[in-house]
């Protein structure tokens, strides 16, 4: 069925629970889009180290796949790397921290806010500005930043941070305070890029990892995430959250934080992992645009037919649940986690997902 709304009209309608011609679609395809630039040989490490190449990926990806959103996720080692952690780069895959900067209790207090115009922080901000300038009249654009606890676990290793939450509590808080200031500098930089929204990765808000008390103390509270969420809105960007964990803290991260968009994954094998239907049924899409929940593995391992079938089933599940809840829209077919940027990801599956939503995503209650 042909679209009758453009991307911006559809997304604004979905954000405000107005009728849509179809559910919006945005597999979180970021690094993988470098493969549709030019002759397709751009390396990941070049894409994530050069603002022009970073932006080229999103611009070419938009042209090739025709997404409804553009979200500037680079990877989760950007900020830790700029604070001094060693990042192992890869030609075709996501880089990661292989040597933390915080190794002993005394190191928590030594970390400093880097110059956000330099390093990969600078690449991220400048690259975001470039793709926002190019795509802002076509899609809803958003920058993407790592929350303070995520940055700290990258800078120190998650196991160390979790144990030090009890063994060196005040040191952990000092580091989180520093990283929150770093995040605030990043917000200012992102505000200059003028995306419509800013997505925060708060992935430790998961009941597989932290309980409510620990999550609130070490990220959710006002002086960390609370102040960042407020500043995001004050700087003119819609506050959004991404959390690809298996058992997300939905009450805190949707009902309390009140993001405009909440991107989440679904793990059918994990008891209690909320399905799309349950997420909508339990009211989490009442005041928030929920984005999910196709398994990102499918973009690598499924046949095109299976991607089509899965996307069709998701559309049907979501449409039924939205109608039962009395909602017009408020759901985006997305991938929950980033579509793997590796060369083995099947580009045709990304296209199939988007095209299937175009064909079967009409909501008629």
């Amino acid at each position: 069925m042909a679209d009758t709304m453009n991307h911006l009209e559809r997304c604004v309608a979905a954000l405000t629970n107005q009728p849509v011609d179809r559910i919006p679609a945005y597999p979180i395809a970021c690094g993988v889009c470098r493969r549709v630039v030019g002759d397709g040989t751009m390396l990941y490490r070049d894409w994530c180290s050069d603002p022009k190449k970073f932006a080229q990926g999103f611009i070419a990806g938009q042209k090739y796949f025709d997404f409804d959103f553009t979200i500037g996720l680079m990877d989760l080692s950007v900020m830790a790397g700029d604070m001094g952690a060693h990042v192992r780069m890869d030609e075709q895959n996501t880089p990661f921290v292989d040597d933390p900067v915080i190794k002993g209790p005394e190191d928590y207090e030594k970390i400093q806010v880097p110059d956000v115009t330099k390093g990969r922080s600078g690449v991220l901000i400048e690259g975001t500005k470039l793709f926002v300038d190019a795509l802002k009249n076509e899609t809803i654009t958003a920058g993407f930043l790592e929350g303070p606890l995520l940055v700290l676990t990258q800078a120190a290793s998650a196991e160390k941070v979790f144990m030090d939450m009890y063994n060196n509590r005040s040191a952990v808080h000092k580091a989180l305070a520093t990283i929150t200031e770093y995040d605030k500098e990043m917000i200012k930089g992102m505000a200059g890029a003028k995306p419509a929204g800013l997505v925060w990765d708060y992935l430790w808000g998961s009941y597989s990892c932290l309980g409510d008390a620990e999550y609130d103390e070490f990220e959710g509270q006002q002086k960390y995430a609370g102040s960042l969420n407020e500043m995001t809105a004050k700087e003119g960007m819609a506050f959004c959250v991404h959390n690809c964990a298996d058992l997300p803290h939905l009450d805190t991260q949707i009902k309390k934080m009140k993001p405009a968009i909440y991107s989440m994954a679904y793990y059918p094998l994990i008891p209690g992992s909320p399905s799309p239907k349950e997420t909508i049924e339990n009211g989490f899409a009442d005041n928030c645009l929920v984005a999910g929940q196709i398994d990102p593995q499918g973009f690598v391992r499924w046949s095109q037919e299976k991607m089509q079938r899965t996307t069709m089933n998701l559309c049907q599940e979501v449409k039924t649940a939205l109608c039962a809840r009395g909602l017009n829209s408020r759901y985006v077919v997305a991938s929950g986690c980033e579509v793997p940027p590796s060369v083995t990801t099947r580009l045709e599956n990304i296209k199939e997902c988007v095209d299937t939503v175009k064909q079967y995503g009409q909501v008629k209650c």
Binding site: F96, M165, Y166, Y207, L210, I270, Q297, T344
Partner: protein, 212 residues
């Protein structure tokens, strides 16, 4: 101090994540003539089993589990050298690690802890482990179990490379293979020729203990 009090002390030290107490009670147990194996099984392991149950019920979370594991290993370091060689030799040896290209090891560490608590002699290869280390482990470590994890999609193929390597060197039938990590599944385990997939540490213990 009575043996019963020492065992209770070991159990409590693990449940509360108190490494110093775990070490202290482990030393006390040796001084009091408690068999090292009893101190491990009726103290440390009992405590870790309770911690595992609490984690499964979302009464404990990762920080408490990691502290408990740290406490358990503190006690184990004291007690293991005192296990008679003939008893130690009866244990099933397993190797565990995060596959090459990935450094996310919290899940691996918890599985290692729970398998250790379940009575296996787990040899930890760490993270970012080259394929050949797993492939050679049947000979180098006398492993009967290989446990591999990854949190990242691109590194999943390393698991298949391990299975293929074991087939090639003739050791596949001598070892059981279990995999885990967010992107993995039983169909993926079946695809690559692994024996089991586990969604968490409890399931890993259940599957391994049930078969080995």
């Amino acid at each position: 101090m009575q043996a019963q009090d020492i065992l209770a002390g070991l159990e409590k030290a693990v449940i509360t994540g108190n490494r110093a107490d775990s070490i202290k009670f482990a030393k006390d147990s040796l001084d009091a003539g408690v068999k090292a194996l009893d101190a491990i099984d009726k103290g440390l392991v009992k405590g870790m089993t309770i911690v595992g149950d609490k984690y499964a019920k979302h009464e404990y979370f990762l920080p408490q589990v990691l502290l408990a594991a740290n406490a358990m290993y503190g006690g184990l370091d004291i007690l293991l050298p005192h296990i008679p060689t003939e008893d130690a030799g009866k244990k099933v040896i397993g190797v565990i690690g995060v596959v090459e290209g990935d450094v996310h090891d919290i899940g691996k560490n918890i599985v290692k802890t729970m398998l250790t608590a379940a009575g296996l002699d787990m040899h930890d290869f760490g993270k970012d482990v080259p394929v050949e280390n797993f492939v050679n482990s049947v000979k180098s470590e006398k492993a009967s179990l290989i446990a591999m994890s990854t949190l990242m999609t691109p590194t999943m193929d390393g698991m298949k490379a391990v299975v293929d390597g074991l087939i090639e060197n003739g050791d596949r039938m001598k070892v059981k293979i279990i995999i885990g990590g967010a992107p993995t599944s039983q169909p993926f385990a079946d695809d690559i020729g692994a024996d089991w997939h586990a969604i968490n540490a409890q399931e890993a213990v259940k599957k391994v203990k049930g078969a080995m």
